[in-house]
Subunit: 337 residues, 2 copies
Amino acid sequence: MTLTRKPSRHRTPGSGPTMADLAELAGVSAITVSRALANSPLVNAETAARVKAIAEAQGYAFNVSARNLRLRSNRTVAVIVEMKPSQDRRMSDPYPLDLLGGISQELASAGYCVLLSTRQGGDAAAVRGADAVILLGQGAHEDAVETVARWHLPMVVWGAQVPHDAHVTVGSDNRRGGALAAERFVALGRHRIAFLGDIAHAEVAARLAGFETVLAAHKLKVSQAKPAAFTVAAGAKATHTLLERQPQIDALFAASDLLAIGAVRALTERGRRVPDDVSVIGYDDTPLGATYVPALSSVHQNLHEGGVLLARKALALIEGREVESEILPTNLVVRAT
Amino acid sequence: MTLTRKPSRHRTPGSGPTMADLAELAGVSAITVSRALANSPLVNAETAARVKAIAEAQGYAFNVSARNLRLRSNRTVAVIVEMKPSQDRRMSDPYPLDLLGGISQELASAGYCVLLSTRQGGDAAAVRGADAVILLGQGAHEDAVETVARWHLPMVVWGAQVPHDAHVTVGSDNRRGGALAAERFVALGRHRIAFLGDIAHAEVAARLAGFETVLAAHKLKVSQAKPAAFTVAAGAKATHTLLERQPQIDALFAASDLLAIGAVRALTERGRRVPDDVSVIGYDDTPLGATYVPALSSVHQNLHEGGVLLARKALALIEGREVESEILPTNLVVRAT
DNA sequence: ATGAAAGCGCTAACAT
DNA sequence: ATGTTAGCGCTTTCAT
């Protein structure tokens, strides 16, 4: 069944009535209409009501561009996500949507809009015209950060804090997340320990750093495996490679739940039982990991809250306030693995 | 570690140089600058190069609002997602981000921006000022559609086609998806068959319709269970309730992978083996389902492509072209269940 | 409580 | 190939 639709009369911006039109209908001036619709106390309640009724009846649509031009502000924040379409990964997976939810909620309640853009199509004029940029993911070697920083817009980045960075960062406590995983392995008495992740990503590097620091305090070393991507398949492949070198590992910490699931699969294929022979901890605490069998232990980060925070900091920057980078707490959710 | 950041000089819209400024510096008129930056063939190549160099040197930022006001077009499409933060579901889960990826890619390459909004904060002025609206999910009983339709903007909806609808819809072939699941159960010789899903959602209703039609042709009836939400927990609970009434079912089709996973869990808890005793098919073909153990059989829909299509239709509506609703093919991915 | 004037930065239309 | 004029729709002065 396929319905054909005639191009019907929709409102093209500029086609509908303007404040001047409403003013004429109401027998007032345009500025009074402006004030009435903005709920200004300067205008008579009765007049305001009449104007609003007329606006409603005429299907009046406010022209945002005109206001923005006049006010020299776009009340828009650009959010840039890394979103390469790929088979079983969409960015670092659950990330963007939860973060976006928080961002969107917070900005909307402040009367701002969210302009969504990918890193590829990022330098569109509209994005450059935003009042601020929120960058989700700093990219390998912070390349994304560098690009966006050149736009000289207020910028807030979701990710790890980099020592000599010059921008505001919000992220979860990746070092602590790594440390929590390490503490768990130590408590379990594991001592042939591996890490699965690509440390070109600052967040992953921080997770490893926290992980290694705790283990080093217990005189434990870490074998590393570097997956080619953030996917189940890449995780499995890297784990197989690792197991050829180090068949006897008894604990593995992965930089994401997807990687962890790949690792569990590889371990199982090699006849190693999880968690009996090898303990596995993932990262992100995704529904995917939580419902996996065996249910994946994972480091949890509150992404919705992170989004809210990103938005607040972006707004603060816009208003010229001082803003600090901030680290959100992480906690370990222990499940079956 | 927390770094403090001074409010440094960012570009406030309106703070930087305008075309008039560049014009003066280049010794030409503003319109020439406008043409040069727009790569108009009307302007001398050398002049254009000079203007561009000056623009670059001055850190010129284009004022989108001014152009939009002048051109009476915002080159913006609003995307409205249903995004209630919730524990283990973010909308119908993998949906939005894959769709958004396709939408964003297609609109960006046409020079349009994506204005992201949730249903809650949806009636912000900026959204009403968009050139078109893409609505992801029609909502229970099409309530979301009704609300947005009142804005009289060109609108494209992701979801199921509703008989007497008056809008353009893009969606996957839910009837066919249901039929595929039914055919599989018939081929397996199953005959105590159940459906798990809330048919208040048009898409779910279509899945059930296709499912029942095929089964009816084989003189098979369907037991229905209605989960309270699109979550694993709700799926498990509804399945338990169902099993109390109908302990002997040997096949179950769920309206989403999350629900299917909940069903598998409930079945297992009651000592019924999947797929030996009960065959289960989910919907969406999420990574979650694919990596679940047992790997979930599921109906696949190509969401990225769906996003691209949504965007194309929105653009077509903006240009006043005739647009048809369209249904994307679905296919059944048979895995372990 | 209401209005008049002015201008935000850009580009289409019409010169030259 | 370049310039002049005008105006998009709104809101901030500064009157009244």
